[in-house]
Subunit: 493 residues, 2 copies
C-alpha cells in the first residue's frame, strides 16, 4: 500500500497548511488589528492557492487510480478513496479559467452586494448576480452535464441529496409548518425575555455553558466575534465564537449552544485518521443537525431551562423563572430575516431560498424576476410584506459568495435533528431527567459513538440510517414542533 501511505502523508501536510489557514482566518475574525486586512488577504490567498495546488497535484490522481483497482481496501480506505475521488473529479472538471472567473465574480459580487444591501437597491447587484448564476451553471455543466445543475451543486455540501427528493420533503414540511403557523396566528404571543445582563459576564457564562455541554476547553476556546462560527484548526483545536447583547441573553445563549453542537461534532471526529479523507464531517446537513439538536431540541426545552435558571441566578445575581425563559425562547414571530427566525418559521425562510435558487439554476427564473418572486413567496409562506430588498432578497451572503446549493443543508440539519431527537429519547430513557440535572455526557457520547467517530467513512444518509433506522424526518420535525409549540400556544392539530 505504498500509494495509500504516500497519499495520506501528502494529505497530512495539506491539512497542516489548511489548518494554518484556519488559524489565520479565525484571527481575522477575532483579534486582528484593523490595518492588517490587506496583508491578511494576501496570506489567505497564498495559502488557498497552495492547498488547492496540493489537492489537485497530478500524483493524487495517480495514487487514487492505483488504489481504485485494489480489491483489499479497508472500510476507511474505501471511504477515503471515494471522498477524495469525488473532490478531485469536481476540481479537475472545472477549468482553471472558470475557477478564476468564478473567484473574480465572487469577489466583485461580494463588494457589489455590500453596497447594494446598504442602498437597498437590488438593481445595482443584479448584473453581478447574473454573472454568478451563469458561471455557476457553467460549472455545474462542466462537472456533470447529464444531471440537473442544481443536483450537481447539492453534491458539494450534502452528497446524495437531490432536487426531487428535497422538493418532496420540503413541500410536505412547508404545508405542515403553515398549518402550525395558521393554528397559532390568533393566539396571544409568548412574552419575550428582555432582562438586561452584563455583557462581559455573558461571555464567561457562555463559556461555562459550553463546558457543561461537554465542549473540551483544552481543545478549544470561546471568543467574541461579530458573527458566531465554529472552526477547526487541526487535532485538539476547535474554536467557537459567540456574541452578547445586553437585552437578549437568549440569543447569545442560543448561538453558543448552536456553535457548541458544531464543535462537539468536530471534537468527536476521528482525528487519528488525519489524511485518510474520512476524518471530516460527512456533510453540511449532518453538521447542522448537530448544532440544531443541541440548540433547539435540548437548548430550548423546559428541562434545560430548569437546569439553567439557578445557574443564571448564581452567575448574574438576578433571579429568573425557568418557565419565562422557556416561553421567551419559543416565541413564534414570522419575520423577514432568516438568521433571527424562530424554530417554527426558520425552515420556511430556507424553503424560499431553495425554491428560488433551484429555479435560477434550472433556468426557470431570471435574475430580474428574483425580487418579485422573493417577495411573493414571503407573503405566501410567512405572511409578511418585504418593505425593501435590503431586508429581502439581499439579506444573505450566500449568493454573492457564489454558494448556490448550500441553503438546503440548514433544513436537512433540522430534519435530521428531529429524527435524532426521537431516537435519542428512545435510546436514553433518562434523557430529560439528565438534562434537568445538567448531565449532558450521555447525549454527547451517544452522538459521538453513533455519528462523530465515523467521520466521513460513509455518507450522511447512511450514517443517519444506521443510527435512527428508517424514519420520516418531516413527520419527526412536525411532531416535535406541534408537541412543543402547540402546547405552549394551546393549539392542537
Amino acid at each position: 500500500m505504498e500509494a495509500w501511505d504516500a497519499l495520506v502523508a501528502h494529505n497530512r501536510e495539506t491539512a497542516a497548511l489548511a489548518g494554518a489557514s484556519a488559524v489565520v482566518q479565525w484571527d481575522q475574525q477575532t483579534y486582528m488589528p484593523s490595518r492588517a486586512s490587506a496583508s491578511r488577504g494576501e496570506q489567505i490567498a497564498a495559502l488557498s492557492k497552495l492547498v488547492h495546488a496540493r489537492n489537485t497535484d497530478p500524483r493524487v490522481a495517480d495514487w487514487l487510480a492505483e488504489l481504485s483497482t485494489s480489491s483489499d481496501l479497508t472500510p476507511v480506505q474505501v471511504g477515503g478513496v471515494r471522498n477524495m475521488t469525488r473532490s478531485l473529479e469536481r476540481a479537475r472538471r472545472v477549468s482553471p479559467q472558470l475557477v478564476g472567473a468564478l473567484a473574480r465574480a465572487q469577489s466583485e459580487g461580494f463588494g457589489a452586494w455590500v453596497a447594494a444591501k446598504e442602498a437597498k437597491n437590488f438593481e445595482a447587484f443584479a448584473p453581478k448576480l447574473q454573472t454568478l448564476v451563469a458561471l455557476t451553471r457553467e460549472k455545474a455543466a462542466a462537472i456533470d452535464g447529464d444531471r440537473s445543475p442544481y443536483d450537481v451543486l447539492l453534491d458539494e455540501f450534502d452528497p446524495g441529496a437531490t432536487t426531487v427528493s428535497l422538493r418532496s420533503m420540503f413541500d410536505r414540511l412547508s404545508a405542515g409548518l403553515r398549518e402550525l403557523l395558521e393554528a397559532t396566528r390568533g393566539v396571544e404571543p409568548l412574552q419575550a425575555h428582555t432582562e438586561a445582563y452584563d455583557t462581559d459576564r455573558q461571555l464567561t457564562f457562555f463559556r461555562q455553558v459550553a463546558g457543561c455541554l461537554g465542549y473540551d476547553m483544552e481543545a478549544g476556546r470561546v471568543d467574541l466575534a461579530a458573527h458566531p462560527f465554529t472552526i477547526s484548526m487541526g487535532a485538539g483545536d476547535t474554536r467557537i465564537t459567540v456574541r452578547c447583547a445586553e437585552h437578549d441573553l437568549l440569543s447569545g445563549l442560543g448561538g453558543t449552544i448552536h456553535e457548541t453542537g458544531h464543535a462537539l461534532y468536530e471534537q468527536g471526529l476521528p482525528w487519528d485518521l488525519a489524511g485518510t479523507g474520512v476524518e471530516t464531517a460527512a456533510s453540511m446537513g449532518l453538521h447542522e443537525s448537530q448544532s440544531r439538536l443541541w440548540e433547539n431540541f435540548i437548548g430550548r426545552s423546559l428541562p434545560f431551562f430548569r437546569w439553567l435558571a439557578p445557574r443564571i441566578e448564581a452567575h448574574f445575581g438576578q433571579s429568573v423563572d425557568p418557565e419565562a425563559l422557556y416561553r421567551g425562547a419559543n416565541r413564534i414571530v414570522p419575520g423577514l430575516t432568516r438568521v433571527e427566525a424562530d424554530e417554527v418559521t426558520y425552515n420556511l425562510h430556507v424553503i424560499v431560498r431553495f425554491e428560488l435558487e433551484a429555479a435560477l439554476m434550472e433556468g426557470r427564473l431570471s435574475v430580474a424576476e428574483l425580487p418579485v418572486a422573493w417577495n411573493d413567496r414571503y407573503r405566501e409562506l410567512l405572511g409578511v410584506e418585504v418593505p425593501d430588498d435590503g431586508v429581502g432578497v439581499l439579506q444573505d451572503v450566500h449568493w454573492p459568495s457564489g454558494m448556490f446549493g448550500y441553503f438546503p443543508s440548514y433544513t436537512i440539519g433540522n430534519l435530521y435533528a428531529a429524527s435524532l431527537g426521537c431516537a435519542l429519547e428512545e435510546s436514553l430513557p433518562s434523557l430529560w431527567a439528565d438534562v434537568a440535572g445538567g448531565r449532558f455526557t450521555g447525549i454527547r457520547e451517544w452522538l459521538r459513538a453513533g455519528l462523530h467517530r465515523h467521520g466521513h467513512v460513509r455518507d450522511a444518509p447512511d450514517l443517519m440510517h444506521d443510527l435512527v433506522g428508517e424514519r420520516d424526518h418531516v413527520a419527526d420535525l412536525l411532531t416535535h414542533l406541534w408537541g412543543r409549540h402547540g402546547v405552549l400556544h394551546g393549539v392542537t392539530r
Copy 2:
C-alpha cells in the same frame, strides 16, 4: 527589469506565507488550547519547509545573477540584491544533510536542555551541546572556510560585526562597567518598588503606555504571554506580548516599553517595499537598540517617571512618588540571571556569553570545560558565585536552540542606544521636557526618519553613522551609566 519584478512578486508571496506562520506562532504563545500543540507543530513545520523552499528556489539565484550584472539599479535594488544574495549564499552553501542534522540536534538539544536545566545537571546536556557545537562549526566552515567561524555566525545577526572589533569594544566596556560597579559596591543599595498592583489593571495600563509612546494600536495588539516578545505578521500587524507580576510593576512596565521599542521599529519599516529585500530591520543589534533606547534611556529616566506617576495614580488609585519609581527602576544588583539584570550589569552577562561561545567556536574551549569557565567569569566580572548549572551555564535557550553568535546583538543594541540617546539629546533640545510632558512623538519621528523608514537599504553600521556621525559607542554608554547611576549612588569617576 523583468527579473526584478518576478523576484519581488515571488518574495511577496513568500512573505505572505511567512506572515501566516507568524500568526500561527503568535497564537501558539497566546491563545492556543493546550491539546493543539502537536498539530500546531505540524503547521509550523509545513510552513517553514515551504518558506525555505521558496527562498532557495533556483529561480531566485537566476534572478539575482541577472540583476547583479545590471548597472542601473536603484538604491533599493542594490540593497535588496545584496541582502538576498547574502541570505541565499548562506543557505546554499549548507548542505540539506547538514540542515537536517542541525534541525535534529536543535530539537534534541532543546529537549535535553529543558530536562538538564530542571535537574541542574550540565552533564546530561553536554553530549547534545557537543553535537550542536560541532555541527555549527561545520556550518560556519561550509559558509566561509577562510574566515573565523565566529565571524561567519555573527554575520547572520549583525552583518559587519567581527570578533576582533567586538572584543575590543567589549573589553573596554567590561573594564568601565566594573569600575562603576566597584565604585557603587559599598554604597547603600536603592530601594526596590514592591507595591502591589492588580494584574488585570496592569495589562490595561501597559496598553495605555504603549499607545502613549506612539505604538499604533490599529496596527497591533498587546496580549499576555509567558515570555514578552514582538512579532510582525505583515503590513499593519505588529503585535507585542507582556507579562504582569503583582509586586513588580516596574518589571512588566520595562518589558512593555522594551517590546514597544521593537514594535515602533517594525511599524516604521518601509512595508510598501515588501518583497524588495530591504523592507526588514537592518540587524538584530539595531533592533535591540530601539528597544533599549525606549526601555532604558527614556523609560528609566526621572522625567519619564514624573510623567508616569500621576497616570499610575489615576489608573490604579494608588499614590506613588516618581523619585521612588526612578530609584526602584535603577537599582544595581549584580546577579546570576541575564534576563533579570539591571542596566549596569546586563552587558557583563552578555560579555561572558560572547567570550565563551567565541572560544567554543574557535576551538579554544571544550564543552566539558564550559561550566567551570562560566562560573569563573561570573566570579571575576560580576562578583557572584554560581550555586548550580541550572541558574548558571544552562540558563539561556540560545545554545540549545543552536543560536551561536546572537548574544553580542544584545550589547551592540545597548551601545547603539547610548549613541542614539546622545544624538537625540542634541537633535531634540526639548527632549526631557517632552518626556516629562508625555510628548513622545518627536522621539518616534526622529527614529523613524533616521532609521526605521530606511529598512535594510544599508547595513546597520552605515545607518547609525549617517544618523549619529562618528561616535564612540562605549564611551557614550559609560557616560550615560555614570551620569545616571553615579549620581543616584553618590559616586563619581
